[in-house]
């Protein structure tokens, strides 16, 4: 699978031109604040549309203003982790994963019981199994980040987008999570993009890096 982004992203007064081709690999994007790293992820996810150019996944056009094509985010099968944690505040850590699994499984129905088992497993594997019954506001920043990360990777997404995935982790937890994430990303086929400020994270996780 190849993700082909060649276009212009406009945010108010500000516009960037991006040309990217990402295959079955992990691409790292670095650069100072405000250059539009997050905007690229939002365009790929379908939360923002291109103002010019096109976005294609394996030859299928997802976004092309000139041809008046725009595939809505819910049809793109993207696993995305937002920078500001977006766990549903009224659901526990485990229920948040279950919610994502069931939402993703619209085409192939996932039963609640199966989803629970997968969620419990994944949280255990991420080293936060003991927090699975807690609500997001009861989790620390690092714990909630690991839940978000787990949530972005479940349900075999075609494209993975991670925005500062390890920024809230302390130095003690970081190396293990990094190793686990590396392994998890290798297991998933398709284009994967990581936006990060941390060069050690980028080095450890990405096959290729571009600086904006």
């Amino acid at each position: 699978m190849t993700l082909q982004l060649d276009g212009r992203i406009t945010r108010g007064e500000f516009a960037i031109d991006v040309a990217l081709s990402i295959g079955n690999e992990v691409l790292g994007i670095t650069g100072p604040n405000g250059v539009g790293k997050t905007s690229i992820l939002r365009v790929v996810a379908g939360l923002t549309s291109l103002s010019a150019g096109s976005l294609e996944l394996s030859g299928v056009i997802l976004d092309s203003p000139t041809q008046d094509i725009f595939v809505k985010p819910e049809y793109r099968n993207v696993g995305m982790m937002f920078q500001d944690h977006s766990l549903l505040p009224f659901r526990t850590a485990e229920e948040n994963i279950v919610f994502a699994l069931r939402a993703r499984g619209v085409r192939v129905r996932v039963r609640v019981r199966d989803a629970r088992a997968i969620a419990a497993n994944q949280l255990e594997a991420a080293g936060i199994g003991q927090y699975r019954g807690l609500l997001p506001h009861q989790l620390s920043g690092g714990q909630s980040q690991r839940v978000c990360l787990t949530r972005a990777l479940v349900g075999s997404p075609s494209v993975v987008l991670l925005d500062e995935p390890l920024s809230a982790l302390d130095e003690l937890a970081r190396p293990l999570v990094r190793t686990n994430l590396r392994a998890a990303l290798q297991r998933l086929d398709g284009p994967k993009i990581i936006v990060s400020h941390d060069s050690a994270d980028i080095d450890a996780l990405c096959d290729r890096v571009i600086a904006l």
Partner: protein, 270 residues
């Protein structure tokens, strides 16, 4: 250091402000004490379950609940449009929606007559000629009057609730694969629940207390359009004990609504 000093300056309140605040509080509380003092506790239940008082309470309960349902059904889409869709003239539409809040209720009643009056109403004559439906002097008219006055309170609460929902929750739900309908029912509505509850409570309280628009538009027919506030007004002459008993019930209901609202103001989570 300078911060502590600033706080000291701000918290050193001049004496006359405290006196004014105390007077204001007394001004608001004295009538409530007066009301409660006049309630005949021994005959309270009897006063409520007998005669015109019980009729009025029953009618008020039924009409205000139906009016509140109506308000929720119409108010939620209205609040959504005002909060989420940027269009030309949005502030004008919002001002029009909020108008019944500041409009004298009697004027609201007159306006309702102009729209739904049987003989001269804009829509009323058609309703009557086609379906034989008459809103004036009917319980349906009571519901319309109550909903008209209560709707803006609901829209205001829900619109601000919708605005305070951070987009990231609905965005991440969209990326996970939920359609806009499912996002609405499974994410937005759930996040909106406190605002919905508060808006419903305040709209219901407003509908329950409606007087001016009701008496103007629906009249004051015992057992048909005479709601509790209208009954209180009339009973004050003929049966003051019943009037005080009914007033006390309305007061208790409003305190209950305030308690519901307070939970929202304090931002308490489930």
């Amino acid at each position: 250091m300078s911060k502590a000093k600033g706080r000291d300056v701000a918290s050193s309140t001049p004496g006359f402000v405290l006196v004014g605040a105390a007077l204001g509080l007394i001004f608001l509380l004295l009538p409530l004490v007066g009301l409660i003092r006049r309630v005949a506790w021994r005959g309270l239940l009897g006063n409520l379950v007998e005669g015109p008082a019980s009729e009025a309470l029953r009618l008020s309960l039924v009409t205000s609940v139906i009016a509140t349902c109506f308000v929720v059904l119409l108010g939620l889409p209205l609040a959504w449009v005002l909060a989420r869709i940027a269009f030309k003239g949005r502030s004008l539409v919002r001002a029009l929606v909020m108008l019944p809040m500041v409009l004298p209720p009697v004027v609201g009643g007159v306006a309702l007559l102009g729209a739904y009056g049987k003989s001269n109403g804009l829509l009323g004559s058609t309703l009557y000629n086609l379906f034989g439906l008459q809103l004036t002097f009917s319980p349906l008219g009571v519901i319309v009057a109550e909903a008209f006055v209560a709707l803006p309170f609901f829209v205001m609460a829900v619109e601000s609730g919708l605005r305070s929902i951070e987009p990231k929750f609905e965005e991440s739900a969209a990326v996970m694969g939920l359609s806009s309908t499912k996002r609405f029912s499974r994410v937005t509505l759930r996040l909106l629940a406190p605002a919905l509850l508060a808006g419903t409570a305040v709209a219901w309280a407003r509908a329950l207390g409606e007087f001016g628009a009701t008496i103007t538009f629906a009249g004051n027919i015992e057992g048909r359009t005479q709601t509790t506030p209208l009954a209180v007004y009339l009973l004050l002459e003929s049966d003051p004990e019943a009037a005080y008993a009914l007033s006390f019930v309305l007061l208790v209901v409003c305190v209950g609504v305030l308690v519901t609202m307070r939970d929202r103001w304090m931002g308490r989570r489930s």
